[in-house]
Point group: C2
Chain length 190, copies 2
Amino acid sequence: MDNKQLLMQCAKELFYAKGYDAVGVQEIVDRAGLTKPTLYYYFGSKIGLLKTLLDTKFSEFREFMKRFVRSDERIEDVLYGLATAYFDFFEQDREFYMLMMALFYSARENEAYQAVKPYVTEFYELVVQVFESASYQLGNMNGRQRQFAIGFIGTINHYLLLQCEVNPGQRTDRAQIAALMKQFMYGIFS
Amino acid sequence: MDNKQLLMQCAKELFYAKGYDAVGVQEIVDRAGLTKPTLYYYFGSKIGLLKTLLDTKFSEFREFMKRFVRSDERIEDVLYGLATAYFDFFEQDREFYMLMMALFYSARENEAYQAVKPYVTEFYELVVQVFESASYQLGNMNGRQRQFAIGFIGTINHYLLLQCEVNPGQRTDRAQIAALMKQFMYGIFS
DNA sequence: CAACCTATATACCGAACGGTATAATAACGG
DNA sequence: CCGTTATTATACCGTTCGGTATATAGGTTG
């Protein structure tokens, strides 16, 4: 791994563990065994480092989406594929996923939030589109597509949060994804 | 309002807008028109100020819970009451609610997260209890009480997040709460 | 070899950080 | 009116912050 990748890796670990604002540039380069000018050579600034990290990782997320989502299937299967993309991306790099969530929930004026917002919005709109194009299966949603999208992402994110708290090492299996989607679609009484 | 309350108010606004780590003690006292020793006189430290703020606000949240939750009713009504408590507390002070969410989603090693965690856990356990005591109505949940509690809180929090993004000024009405609970209980096909 | 470009280090900048020693002021009880 | 206590300000502490001017080492290219 070259030093650019090394710096991104170290930054990700520290941002995840302590929070973007709470991590100093010195701390990042110390962990990488380098010095500050190297970091500034590659990324220009601390926020530039975060932006490069986000850009790299969200490109991977797009690949997961392409692999698992077919919008022409039954809505049950589309949602299952969507959920699988989220779960697999989460499993591939839990630290980054949790970092992304933390950034998205952080304060609106914070530059770290503003850096992550466009990416989160992009994937949120993708989920909205899934519900839009399923309208012939779900019937008249009365403009509730966005509410469904929020509910869907919220359900998944909170499940993943629980995973991190309760099963720090264990992988989520396919049966659990199916159960969660069933609960989302048919409610807790089913 | 005395200066202690004033400092808590100013801190809350700044923490909400910029994030705990991104706000300096100097900034807080400047906004309040005071000086640093006053802050340290009342709260001892920056984290002490946050803890006092959390303690005060979560006491209010407990009152909302007592007012709206009757565990001896039908599960539909209990969940509706629980949701109402969350929504009303949110409406009473949106800034604080969003701050609490941001803190809870922040990094585990961050002291701001550690300050808010006990309170969030307390209310999570309360929701778990609601599902536990509804077991005779929901049937055998196979130990999924915690999953339901996570799903319930996740659904509400993401809805409130959406509220803040889309309708910054508008109040959530009772019909929307009922619709959200219906979706949670019966799924999106209902 | 000379010029150049990439990548890295030494050493430093001014500003802001959280926090405090000390003292002045204000309010209150005797 | 005096002593005490609660509250606030002035001025400062050492440390760390994000960021940079400058130099050097190594490879590449003319």
